[in-house]
């Protein structure tokens, strides 16, 4: 029995490998060697620290509104780690981790959140779309890119990242349905972080799981522990292999929790209490992986401290670079709307330049 059959959404089981106490579920091998696991832990940590830094920069007025990923690191690292060169991802707005894992420099990511569109220009060859603010709209693009790949005979896969709230949108439905009909190599990766701003998961939809929504479109869905790096990786790998071999899309519901505010503009005390958060704390993806690595003798406070220092140094450097990028010239806002600036726009640009004198 394949993974998706074993964890058919109506069976009510969540796929988990690494248990909260840092031990493994019985009869399941970890997908990574110890050095590889350690290496991935480093990435989780780096992402967490970069995320914290972004929050701090925002608080200091050095960055615009920012959407922190605190708690969702494993969803992003575990899923992107299954990809190959040439694959594509389609982030929503809470995907610093996934974006960076794909190879977009942190400097780009920070630049974007500082309010400079140039940050969204991913390096050539790295197929990461810019942040997509309108909730639930970008999975269609992931389907379209995957579909084009099929038509061209490219063996790539696409992952669309979105939240529990996004599943309520009409565009999510249309994307899922097209993916099912045209068997596109698309992974719908839902980070169910229990909230859409203030609206809790259970008020978002009456379906017991988000995974079972896949049944409406005739393809596989699975609920996995999104704070378990191993489970996210293994289930995504399965979906990616399936997609790459032409067997169509998969919906993966990662159960996770947003520890931080929705964005830096949000005050979560308006809609949730500390007590509600408490049970989630021990499920923290980093905590859990630390326990696992500690059990292997690969982690202790000293290791953590030195990883921390390395990461902070790297992040310091990125912040310096991002902050030294000069503000955009006025031409820039006109220059990329079309391949060539049409006469009206040119006129408007000239007028604006004049007015700035």
């Amino acid at each position: 029995m394949g993974l998706f059959e074993e964890y058919h959404p109506l069976k009510g089981k969540m796929f988990q490998i690494l248990r909260p106490d840092g031990t493994l579920s019985p009869d399941i091998e970890p997908p990574f060697s110890d050095p590889e696991t350690f290496n991935l832990y480093k990435k989780l940590l780096f992402i967490r620290l970069a995320d914290q830094r972004a929050l701090m920069l925002q608080r200091q007025g050095r960055m615009g509104t920012y959407a922190p990923i605190w708690g969702q690191e494993a969803c992003q690292v575990g899923s992107v780690y299954t990809l190959q060169k040439g694959d594509w991802i389609f982030p929503a707005f809470r995907e610093l981790g996934a974006t960076w894992m794909m190879g977009v420099p942190l400097m780009n990511i920070f630049l974007y959140w500082m309010g400079n569109e140039m940050g969204s220009h991913a390096p050539e060859g790295i197929n990461v779309l810019p942040v997509s603010i309108p909730v639930g709209t970008h999975p269609l693009h992931a389907v379209g890119v995957g579909w084009a790949a099929r038509l061209k005979g490219e063996k790539i896969v696409t992952i669309a990242y979105f939240g529990d709230g996004a599943t309520s949108k009409g565009d999510f439905h249309e994307a899922m349905n097209f993916a099912g009909v045209f068997r596109t190599p698309t992974i719908f990766l839902c980070q169910n972080n229990q909230f859409a701003i203030s609206v809790p998961r259970k008020m978002q939809t009456a379906s017991k799981t988000i995974a079972q929504k896949a049944i409406a479109y005739g393809f596989d869905g699975i609920q996995v522990d999104g704070n378990d790096l191993f489970a996210v990786f293994v289930s995504t790998r399965e979906a990616v292999e399936k997609a790459r071999s032409g067997d169509g899309p998969t919906l993966i519901e990662c159960i996770t929790y947003r520890f931080g505010p929705h964005t830096t503009a949000d005050d979560p005390t308006k809609y949730r209490t500390e007590e509600e958060i408490e049970p989630w704390r021990p499920l923290d993806p980093l905590v859990r992986l630390r326990l696992y690595l500690k059990g292997k003798g690969l982690w202790d406070e000293d290791v953590e401290k030195s990883l921390n220092e390395d990461a902070q140094r790297e992040i310091d450097q990125v912040v310096r670079e991002a902050e030294s990028v000069p503000n955009p010239e006025v031409e820039e806002i006109f220059q990329y709307v079309f391949e060539q600036i049409p006469p009206q726009l040119k006129e408007q640009m000239e007028y604006l330049k004049e007015s700035l004198k």
């Binding site: 615009g64 500082m114 709230g165 701003i197 955009p328 820039e332």
Partner: protein, 325 residues
């Protein structure tokens, strides 16, 4: 009487109307427990309960489409679309149903509802949080479009909108949600839909604006006083149906005009105002009407947003241009 900002004034209007008329319900994303991302509906769920102040799933077409259904069945929904950029998923329901059901059914079914939308730029927000869709709405048959420019205005216009028998799009200039405080009386008062407000008389040039731009025009007028240019200021208030009479009368008097809006220039509301002036007061014109507007580009992110937004400097330039034509 207390001095309120626009958020508080709108909140007061909602609260008072909901007490007066129990057919009114509020629905939208985060409007309940959270009290709205701008706190416009703060406290209302506590007061009226979750059946009258409803947190919905994240689906804008669903919000306005079900709100229309509620209106068909005698409720008076006030739907909130969280930000202007997320109005686009509703345009199908608004254009193809909400604005048409009265006409389609020859009056058998009607749709008394309000859609509130915080709109416009200037708050350093992410993409899609700074849009000005008023011209698109004005081009859509069967809906009214109202935009307040101060707290007092907001309360009176919202009460009128809620009581209006037709669907009203109520666009709230989020940039000045908290920027202006003024006296806002408790209790009932209405401001008629379809009437512009002549804020300041002046003899040299008419400047027309709405929403957050009215304040920019005020600053510009201050500056222009130093140059001995006497500006007449009109706050349009209602985008559709437009108070053409007030505009035309003013232009007949001053002979010169400037229109200020944040939306892209091409096919913005400014064009319609000019067309109306062309039609009804061409011979009064001493100079071409000037438009001070956003550009035909997406509103830039925060590092470049200042390039985009009309500001007093550009308004002064335009006024001087029409004065020296």
């Amino acid at each position: 009487m207390s001095k309120l900002n626009m958020v508080e004034a709108i909140n007061m209007a909602l609260l008072e109307e909901m007490e007066r008329d129990n057919r009114i319900v509020i629905l939208g994303e985060d409007v309940g427990r959270e009290g709205g991302v701008f706190r416009v509906t703060d406290g209302l769920q506590e007061r009226f309960g979750p059946e009258r102040v409803i947190d919905t799933p994240l689906a804008e077409s669903g919000i306005v489409g079900t709100a229309m259904g509620m209106a068909l069945n005698g409720l008076r929904p006030v739907a909130e679309i969280q930000f202007d950029g997320f109005l686009y998923p509703c345009l199908d329901q608004i254009t193809n149903h909400i604005g048409r059901i009265r006409n389609r059914s020859r009056g058998r079914f009607t749709c008394q509802m309000v859609i509130r939308v915080p709109y416009g730029g200037g708050i350093h927000a992410p993409e899609h949080h700074s849009e000005s869709p008023e011209a698109i709405l004005a081009h859509t048959p069967g809906i009214k479009v109202v935009i307040p420019s101060t707290p007092y205005e907001a309360k009176g216009l919202l009460i009128s909108s809620i009581r209006d028998p037709d669907p009203v799009l109520f666009l709230e200039p989020k940039r000045i949600y908290r920027a202006i405080r003024e006296e806002v009386p408790e209790g009932d008062y209405t401001i008629p839909i379809g009437k512009a407000r002549l804020i300041k008389e002046g003899k040299d040039v008419t400047v027309i604006a709405w929403g957050a731009m009215v304040r920019e025009v005020f600053s510009a007028a201050e500056k222009l006083r130093g140059d001995n240019i006497d500006v007449e200021i009109i706050d349009l208030r209602t985008v559709f149906p437009m108070d053409i009479e007030t505009i035309v009368n003013s232009i007949r008097k001053t002979g010169r005009g400037v229109i200020v809006h944040e939306a892209p220039k091409t096919c913005g509301l400014g064009a319609e105002i000019i067309a109306q002036i062309n039609e009804k007061a061409l011979l009064s014109l001493q100079a071409p009407i000037e438009r001070v507007t956003g550009f035909d580009i997406p509103v830039p992110l925060l590092k470049s947003e200042h390039y985009y937004l009309p500001n007093p400097k550009r308004i002064v330039m335009a006024v001087k241009k029409v004065m020296s034509f």
